[in-house]
């Protein structure tokens, strides 16, 4: 789960990381009011859950409340990488001396958290990493010991941070580690962490991602989830514990297991078709789940055929077949259905579907070919 900048910075602040004064606004009028409260120049920042918003024109400087209102109106009407801007953050403007990059994230290869820092922070940090990797400082953190202060000091020295800021930096690093740990973050990033002209260290921007598997113990964060930017079908799927991603093709897919679901998409493409979605119904698929999955797939008007690829393990094929029958009754699909059942109770499953007017297939390749043919006929 991704958090917005304003949400991330509120959390940072709770753990002692200095942030600029500011608030979030949903209208130009609100933005104006916040600018009046703050006084002086303000920054208007689009709140969207995607990177690159600065380069897309979603961050602007306003010299007074009137301009703040005008710029907020402009940004609130924007779309950034396909996402409409619904909120802006209005922050007091800072006079910046230096921009630092600082984050804590998971290094899956090392199986440890890693602290990443660079004195060359800012929006071009990925270019810095690609062209001058020696300007990126990385330090792994023992997950059993936690971040030790000396490690933060070493990072400060390695990036040539002026010594007078060492203490502030260590405090911010320890704070960010606490944020990362307490929120089950997979990413806690400050870019830029700035040194202001009046010699303060401030987290000007913040990005966080939270581990979805840990949300059971993060009820407060779960409530922060912004579903405005999710596809409605994906929200519906989540309710039923289905993993669903909408794609642009015309062959709907219902598969058990993520790897097999991806593979089914690959094989459809291999035989000249285009998948309409990724859908993993998971283990032990009940009739309720199958019905929900079928409904979700068929809400997409592009879908011209649906492929069911079920390899029974924990999931029993007869149970899925019963689900398909109930779903067919309820949804009454008008497109051809191609079904392949293999594994636990496949024989019983196939018998149940004998009179259901479905196209059956033996192998995955065969199922994919038949789906592509059926979708082409439907076009």
């Amino acid at each position: 789960m991704k958090l917005h900048e304003y949400q991330s910075k509120t959390i940072f602040s709770k753990y002692g990381i200095p942030i600029p004064k500011g608030r979030v606004a949903a209208t130009a009028q609100e933005a104006k009011q916040i600018a009046e409260e703050l006084g002086g120049r303000v920054v208007i920042k689009a709140q969207v859950l995607v990177g690159g918003r600065g380069k897309a024109g979603g961050v602007k400087l306003a010299k007074d409340p009137a301009e703040a209102a005008q710029l907020a109106a402009q940004i609130l009407g924007m779309e950034i990488k396909g996402l409409p801007v619904r909120k802006v953050l209005v922050d007091e403007a800072s006079a910046i001396d230096q921009e630092i990059y600082f984050s804590i994230t998971n290094d899956r290869a090392a199986k440890k958290p890693v602290m990443i820092a660079s004195a060359a922070g800012g929006i071009d940090i990925e270019e810095v990493a690609a062209k001058t990797p020696d300007k990126i400082i990385k330090s792994h953190i023992d997950p059993l010991l936690g971040l030790r202060e000396y490690q933060a000091r070493d990072v400060a020295v390695a990036m040539d941070l002026p010594r007078e800021y060492m203490k502030d930096f260590v405090k911010i690093a320890m704070g960010l580690w606490e944020v990362y740990k307490a929120t089950d973050a997979t990413l806690a990033e400050i870019n830029p962490l700035v040194i202001t002209k009046d010699k303060k260290m401030v987290a000007l921007d913040g990005k966080m991602m939270i581990d979805d598997s840990a949300l059971f113990r993060q009820p407060d964060l779960n409530e922060m989830r912004d579903t405005d930017e999710d596809d409605p079908a994906e929200i519906e799927a989540r309710k039923y514990g289905l993993s669903f991603i909408k794609l642009d093709g015309n062959i709907g897919c219902m598969v058990n297991g993520a790897g097999l679901a991806m593979t089914s998409m690959d094989v459809i493409k291999l035989f000249g078709g285009e998948p309409a979605n990724f859908l993993d119904i998971g283990g032990g698929a009940s009739a309720e789940k199958v019905t929900a999955a079928m409904r979700i797939i068929l809400t997409d008007p592009n879908v011209k055929a649906v492929l069911f690829n079920i390899f029974g393990g924990i999931t029993r094929c007869d149970e899925v077949a019963r689900g398909i029958l109930i779903a067919m009754e309820e949804v009454k699909p008008k497109v051809p259905m191609i079904v392949r059942l293999v594994g636990t109770n496949a024989e019983e499953g196939r018998k149940l579907l004998e009179n259901a007017n479905m196209i059956t297939a033996e192998t995955l390749a065969d199922a994919a070919k038949k789906s592509v043919e059926a979708a082409q006929k439907g076009n």
Binding site: K2, L49, V50, G51, K81, Y101, S103, T105, N106, R108, A109, K111, K112, P113, I116, I125, E126, A129, A130, K138, D142, P143, L144, K181, D184, L187, E189, N191, K207, M209, D211, S213, A214, F216, R217, I245, V255, N256, G257, A258, G259, L260, M262, T263, M265, D266, V267, I268, K269, L270, F278, F311, G313, I314, V342, G343, T363, L364, A365, A368
Partner: protein, 286 residues
């Protein structure tokens, strides 16, 4: 011989009285796996499987009573990390964790602790292990594989079943099938299993099933290219998966370039691995 599990495996089941635990324990016993006990805190002293399998309160007491040398974990995700710590502290050298959805930070703590104790972990979020004809330690359907000389290692669950089934249809059998699981932080990786297969006299060829994300396939390719003498065929799932919307820069900085199916296929082919276009084609490449 085979790797990790065989007829000398003495297995206990953590979460034996839960729905899934009990169902799969029944299946494992029916397959012939030597299951010697189960653990459910608070249910010590009870018996399951019609009075044939004793239940203990803790892994420690179970190990002392049964001399178990492996454990399989079916407990819910929020209790899984604790179950793995408990097994390691009880001195069990091999842990197989089937549970899906274990928090990543929990897994980093578990993995680093287990490494210090030199305990081997398979999973989590995996289908487990199958040495056909000897032991099924996990949820892979027993009847889709036959004994043979091909080692199979995979990050996926049902996709692995596809491949075992395709092998069986061609009369090809497996020495051991290892499902290492698809989580970003897991116990045993491709490289570990490839090394074991390379040294296992019963394994003559290897099938590797990878997917997008991370760089384990690339690291495996390096090993195959430089050290491995046995032929390897592979499949990488997710060739058509769309890239996610990324936020923040840290991922791009630490995983620069790695992770796409195209990169993995390129690395494997450069190491002499034959990469299949679809899973049913893999066995025919060996």
């Amino acid at each position: 011989m085979s790797i990790l599990v065989d007829k000398n495996t003495r297995l206990i089941v953590q979460g034996v009285t839960g729905n899934e635990g009990l169902f799969h324990t029944t299946q494992m016993v029916a397959y012939g796996t030597n299951v010697v006990g189960g653990v459910t805190p608070g249910k010590g002293g009870e018996w399951v499987l019609n009075g044939k399998l004793p239940v203990f309160d803790s892994v420690k007491t179970a190990r002392e009573a049964t001399d178990a040398n492996a454990t399989i974990i079916f407990v819910p995700a929020r209790f899984a990390a604790d179950a793995m710590f408990e097994a390691a502290d009880a001195g069990i050298p091999l842990i197989i964790c089937i549970t899906e959805g274990v928090a990543v930070q929990d897994m980093m703590r578990v993995r680093n602790y287990l490494d210090q104790k030199k305990v081997r972990l398979i999973g989590p979020n995996c289908p487990g292990l199958l040495t056909p004809g000897e032991a099924k330690v996990g949820i892979i359907p027993g009847d889709i594989a036959i004994p043979g000389n091909i080692g199979v290692v995979s990050r996926s669950g049902t996709l692995t079943y596809e491949v075992l089934y395709a092998m069986k249809n061609l009369g090809m059998g497996a020495s051991t099938c290892v499902g290492i699981g698809g989580d970003p932080v897991n116990g045993t990786n491709f490289l570990d299993v490839l090394e074991m297969f390379e040294h296992d006299p019963k394994t003559e060829k290897v099938i590797m099933i990878g997917e997008i994300g991370g760089n384990e396939e690339e690291r495996a390719a390096e090993y195959i290219g430089s050290k491995m003498t046995k032929p390897v065929a592979a499949f990488i799932a997710g060739q058509t998966a769309p890239a996610g919307k990324r936020m923040g820069h840290a991922g791009a900085i630490i995983e620069a370039g790695a992770g796409t199916a195209a990169d993995k296929i390129k690395a494997l082919e450069a190491a002499g691995v034959r990469v299949a276009k679809h899973p049913e084609e893999i066995p025919t490449l060996l």
